[in-house]
Point group: C2
Chain length 335, copies 2
């Protein structure tokens, strides 16, 4: 490919040159459990071969997730800085690992950019991407690059791991379990609503929940390790939609109390908390005692799992159906 591909590969490779990306001597058959070191040591061979070669901790299963970040669909270059786009691209994948209670092992980035995109944009994208990767000690272990026929196209793949048989699935919720969320809801959609209302510039640093969301890896891990969560999902498509997924996989229903929802910016923003999407918080069910905060993140009890397979919202003492409608609703107006 004329330029971008080669330039990108070397740029990705050189930027990503970290101890995590150098080849380890082969033949080592074990490495320490837990902590940062074991995860980084998992990468035997990164960029520069047909495949990356990775070793999982002994007794662990592999987790794999892939997520698109497409210009005009998931972000707009005039609204989001390249740094934010890179950060969000990786956050989408890491959040899925968090939702299983897993540890990220390595990231793979497929990135196609238009021929005329300034190299500076790619640099800033990688800066945002790699800053978040560093926070969780996730090496960029490979990927693909191409020239895009239209717009920036990114696809993030995360390989994670979890002790065999302990991944927290969506299907484990049982009637009587309480429902909880981490952090606050609706913050990302609130920013989006301002864009929709005509705002063109919004401070990225003061609205980190939208521009630099932090995947709940430590909270997800703690919820698994301590055996708290019976089922878990990340709220990337909106509470109503993702609660629908969890209930469907668990073959149950749910009752949500509007007054108990941790809504960003107060009651008036309830619809953002219910349907907004891209919050990257964790929604989980539990039947035992749940602490008020986990791994430094506040936890709110927002309802309970029911045998009746309907999802309802209780507001002002009245019950009404809560149809899934988060992502679809907002995305029709495009990010």
């Amino acid at each position: 490919m004329p330029l971008p591909e080669k330039a990108l590969i070397s740029r990705i490779a050189s930027k990503a040159k970290s101890p995590a990306l150098t080849t380890r001597p082969r033949g080592t058959t074990d490495f320490q459990k837990g902590g940062t070191r074991s995860r980084v040591a998992g990468l035997q061979r990164g960029i520069g071969d047909d495949c990356a070669v990775l070793r999982l901790p002994r007794g662990h299963e592999a987790l794999v997730t892939t997520d698109f970040s497409l210009e005009g669909v998931h972000f707009r270059r005039e609204r989001h800085s390249a740094e934010s786009v890179g950060h969000r691209c990786l956050a989408r994948g890491l959040s899925d690992i968090a939702a299983m209670g897993g540890e990220p092992v390595a990231a793979f980035l497929s990135l196609a950019v238009p021929e005329r995109l300034p190299q500076r944009w790619v640099d800033q994208f990688l800066r945002g991407f790699l800053a978040l990767a560093k926070k969780f000690s996730v090496p960029l272990a490979g990927g693909d690059t191409a020239q895009s026929p239209a717009g920036v196209l990114a696809d993030i793949v995360i390989l994670g791991s979890v002790p065999a048989g302990t991944a927290v699935l969506r299907s484990g919720a049982r009637p009587g379990d309480k429902l909880y969320v981490t952090g606050q809801l609706g913050a990302s959609a609130l920013v989006l609503s301002r864009f929709m209302a005509g705002r063109t510039k919004i401070s990225e640093r003061r609205n980190a929940a939208h521009f630099f969301p932090m995947p709940r890896i430590p909270a997800g891990r703690a919820l698994r390790e301590e055996g708290i969560a019976s089922a878990m999902i990340d709220i990337s498509d909106g509470l109503s939609t993702d609660l629908g997924h969890l209930c469907q996989e668990s073959r149950v229903g749910a009752r949500i109390y509007a007054e108990q929802l941790p809504v960003t910016g107060g009651r008036a923003n309830l619809r953002f908390a219910l349907h907004g999407g891209e919050d990257y918080e964790l929604l989980f069910s539990a039947h035992g005692i749940v602490p008020k905060s986990i791994a430094g993140v506040p936890i709110a009890c927002i309802g309970e799992i029911t045998r009746r397979r309907k999802i309802v919202l209780i507001q002002g003492g009245k019950e009404r159906a809560l149809p899934a409608g988060g992502w679809e609703h907002f995305s029709s107006r495009k990010r």
Copy 2:
């Protein structure tokens, strides 16, 4: 997302409903070595959760590869049937696994399609994709779907496995090793050249090397198991380019004999064999005895590894430099 995403997810999920995609009881800690069953049994949880959960055979390392298939870059809808596009999309990933001597464990497909793309196209794409997946017992274990702003965008991810420490890298070639390729070279570029010359319809079944290339999984596995290959790479970017990668990673040079190359359609097509790309054959180095065929695929000795770090072509007794130029050359005229 209005329609395509949901339609696609259910279409992918329903099409992909196979024994390989059902959930296995958790807690099983071992499974048979080798053969189809163990690989399929590796999938603990597929489509329907935040991540797929997979168990690798005991003592195995993970292989991960990702490859774009973009409309207008890697294929054209007016030239390639949807079935061929789906097949080639998966073949790109499987070929990388073959080049490490690995076994495919599961495939993940990220697919974005324009709003007006007929559902029939997606169905045919999946038919081609899943027919090849079935051949190698690779379950479609997840992915992502989105509405594309322009053209069909696919990204294939393959998780593979290989006994720890045995992956055949690009970096193992040593001066004195001979160089070999599987099958024939230039067949794919020959088809491309006919398109470039103005042909609009070319029989897909009679030109399977281009439209339905068969990744060399069994040959790659045999070359690893029997300890034959010292270094290996797949020829997806053209012999000259991929030989360049192998030599660079091994810090060696190479001498290629034009008369020994297994050129599709005869000598006149030498340039396709040297620079054509998308052959998905394996190029490997070896220092011992190499059989005339492996796993039913003919093997040709095409040259040798040299200490001098240059890549040269011997033709009619004369030596000339062989610069990498396969993929770049052809792709500038677009597929």
